[in-house]
């Protein structure tokens, strides 16, 4: 370990995200959570500032800033509003998939628009009602008809469903072949046969819209296929691989918000004649939060730095994800404890942070999937 200071360009992205978090997200975070309101205008603002394509080349309107910068930005944004941030993260994932797996005409066709506010989000459609962690068993189909594909099936837990401009859809182009029979498609909003169901009523991340996406004879040109036929699973896994670092960073942002809330409360509240912050009961909760936050953040930075270098990082990304997401639940729960009864009150962020933290242990690979990945790597290393 030689240095942990972000480079100037990374710090600039962090600063951009911090300003956006304060100006665009923080003021309406409580209301958006309460009313389940997707902040469409804020999302388009974020798009125009480049934050929809943090790892996308500048030529297409992105920031081309790398994974460390992405983690820094996500942490800042998530500390203001985790729900809005998840929409942004998924959009980044789709933008990166187009960059990485699309050809030049596909990049030109979709990226400049997406990164200049033409859409409020992009969606990533992999999971189905019958397949989550076991993604290779998905059942949606894409049937070739001349120069088109016809997509049928149902996608579940789709972030920004119904609000996105682009949908990256994984569907089966071959009935057998398991993970090798899957292909990836970009489906534009408004394509006949694509529809979103009523939004899910969720525990947390309520500023983000989650729906099912129903594909019913949805016809897309073959030119919308990302990569070759059969590359879909690779596209999906390649996207999720970076996604785990993002979710870990998001969890750090949620935890940091909860910790700040707890500290500010402890400094203002009084107990037994002195500030609550002078009681060891509160200090212990704050100290444990601080340590775990730092430990988690170091795991995130390490995984991000490895990915930026192009080095193997699946073990490190999985460690960051499982540690940070479970840490965020713990930290938010301790923060609530510092606040006591006030912790139940939505005037303080702690209860929202606690609700928002929970799903990070589930999406983009559950904690259980992360532990399987880590254990596999550990057993291999010492066998």
């Amino acid at each position: 370990m030689r240095d942990l200071q972000p480079q100037a360009a990374q710090a600039q992205v962090q600063e951009l995200a911090r300003a956006a978090a304060q100006d665009l997200l923080a003021p309406s975070a409580t209301a958006n959570d309460r009313d389940e309101r997707f902040p469409e205008d804020a999302m388009r603002h974020l798009a125009r500032s480049g934050l929809f394509g943090i790892n996308v080349p500048k030529a297409y309107g992105g920031l081309e800033a790398g994974v460390v910068a992405y983690a820094l930005a996500v942490r800042e944004l998530a500390s203001a509003c985790a729900g809005t941030t998840v929409g942004l993260m998924v959009t980044n994932m789709v933008a990166e998939a187009i960059t990485r797996f699309g050809d030049e005409s596909q990049r030109q066709r979709w990226l400049p628009g997406l990164l200049s506010g033409a859409h409020a989000a992009a969606s990533f459609c992999l999971s189905e009602p019958g397949s989550g962690s076991d993604a290779a068993s998905l059942r949606a189909t894409a049937r070739r008809e001349g120069n088109d594909y016809v997509l049928d099936g149902t996608k579940a837990w789709i972030t920004s469903g119904g609000r996105a401009g682009l949908y990256l859809v994984m569907a089966r182009t071959s009935p057998d072949g398991g993970s090798r029979g899957i292909s990836a498609f970009i489906v534009e909003a408004g394509t006949p046969g694509l529809s979103a169901t009523k939004p899910e009523d969720k525990l947390g991340m309520r500023a983000s819209v989650t729906t099912q996406i129903v594909l019913d004879g949805c016809r897309v040109p073959a030119a919308n296929r990302l990569g070759d036929e059969g590359d879909g699973f690779k596209v999906a896994m390649g996207s999720l691989d970076g996604g785990r670092i993002g979710v870990a960073a998001q969890a750090c942002g949620i935890a940091a918000a909860a910790q700040r809330c707890a500290i500010e409360f402890a400094q203002g509240a009084r107990a037994d004649g002195s500030a609550l912050s002078e009681q060891q009961s509160a200090q212990w909760l704050v100290a444990d939060n601080a340590v775990e936050l730092d430990a988690g953040w170091l795991l995130v930075l390490r995984a991000a730095a490895l990915k930026d270098k192009g080095a193997p990082h699946s073990r490190e990304a999985a460690m960051a994800k499982v540690f940070c997401t479970e840490m965020a639940s713990e930290v938010a729960s301790r923060a609530l404890q510092v606040l006591g009864e006030a912790g139940e009150d939505s005037r303080y962020s702690a209860e929202r942070n606690l609700r928002d933290a929970r799903v990070t242990r589930i999406y983009e690979g559950t904690s259980e999937v992360q532990r399987i990945v880590i254990a596999r790597e550990c057993l291999k290393a010492l066998s």
Binding site: E264, Q283, V291, L299, A305, E316, F323
Partner: protein, 386 residues
Amino acid sequence: MVDFDLTQEQIMVRDLARAFALKDVAPHAHAWDEQSRFPVEAVKKMGELGLMGVAVPSEWGGAGFDTVSYVLAMEEIAAACASTAVTMSVNNSLVCDPLLKFGTDAQKAEWLTPLAEGRKLGCFALSEPASGSDAGAAQCFAELSADGSHYIVNGTKNWITNGPDADVCVLIAVTERGQGNRGMTAFISPMPSEGLTVGAHEKKLGIKASSTSQLVYSNVKIPVSLRLGAVGDGFKVAMTTLDGGRIGIAAQALGIARAAYEASVRYSQERMAFGAPISQLQAIQFKLADMATRLDAARLLTLRAAMLKDQKVRHSKESAMAKLFASEAAMWITTQAIQVFGGNGYVKDFPVERHFRDAKICEIYEGTSEIQRLVIAASALKEVSA
């Protein structure tokens, strides 16, 4: 720039320590523990290898490496034998470090050089029978003689690691009563000295091969020339020293935890249950995954604190975080390791029983977990109000 890579030099130090630990320490660790035998030969060889003064500049007899290298070396030694590691840690962090930072050139020449070269062994005396965490309540008193040539020291120091084997002690004593933290001064106390009695070896739960005793001072004369730092600076010397010492103990905890973790991974691939190695069971896999994750998190916190010390940036909070997290991770990981081993983990035929006992002290010495939490909370609260 965010850079987690080790330098060539750091890798070299780690590999040197690893090779030594595997050859000269690990094979004996079990017996040393059984016999509560101080590892004299290993300590001597560590001196020859530069491991007793890793971060001391070569002009003062040290190896001239950085704190990150020290952490890496400590982890390797501790993975083999936690007792040998704490002997090393005390000499490096609690004795060489304050001599380097607060000593005069004459003091360095006389004491630091032989300590860093491993020709002498040091100990550090702050705690007393009635004051551990509350270091400001110390009673041991150093009174300036009438002619001003020496101090006369009376009092008892407790839980002194290396005490029975040391040639010199960095002593923190009260020089002005009623002044609390500001009334303390640090001394270089040669051993043996007339009037200084080394108490009986403590019988301990873990780190049994390291020696621990009381030091009883009864009219011990220490020349004024051996005062370390200014009068009244003793508490500052102690706290600054412990900021570094905590990094060493965090590294010790890392080594203990890693040994337990690696033993568990290997055992899980050999031990059969229900017709297959238990490593194929998710119940075991998930334990291993959590052990590995906490170990990595602890190592990152420890390396960060070491890096900041090398950058000469204030690192009290980061050292406290490293020490707290790594020691609690070691306790947790060694507990899980025994669970992976089942009944075999509970007997001395397998190493994890020793690792479990050795881990506990890391949560206590050089600042209990509770003291670390106080340090961290104070710092976290200050950051937000600022």
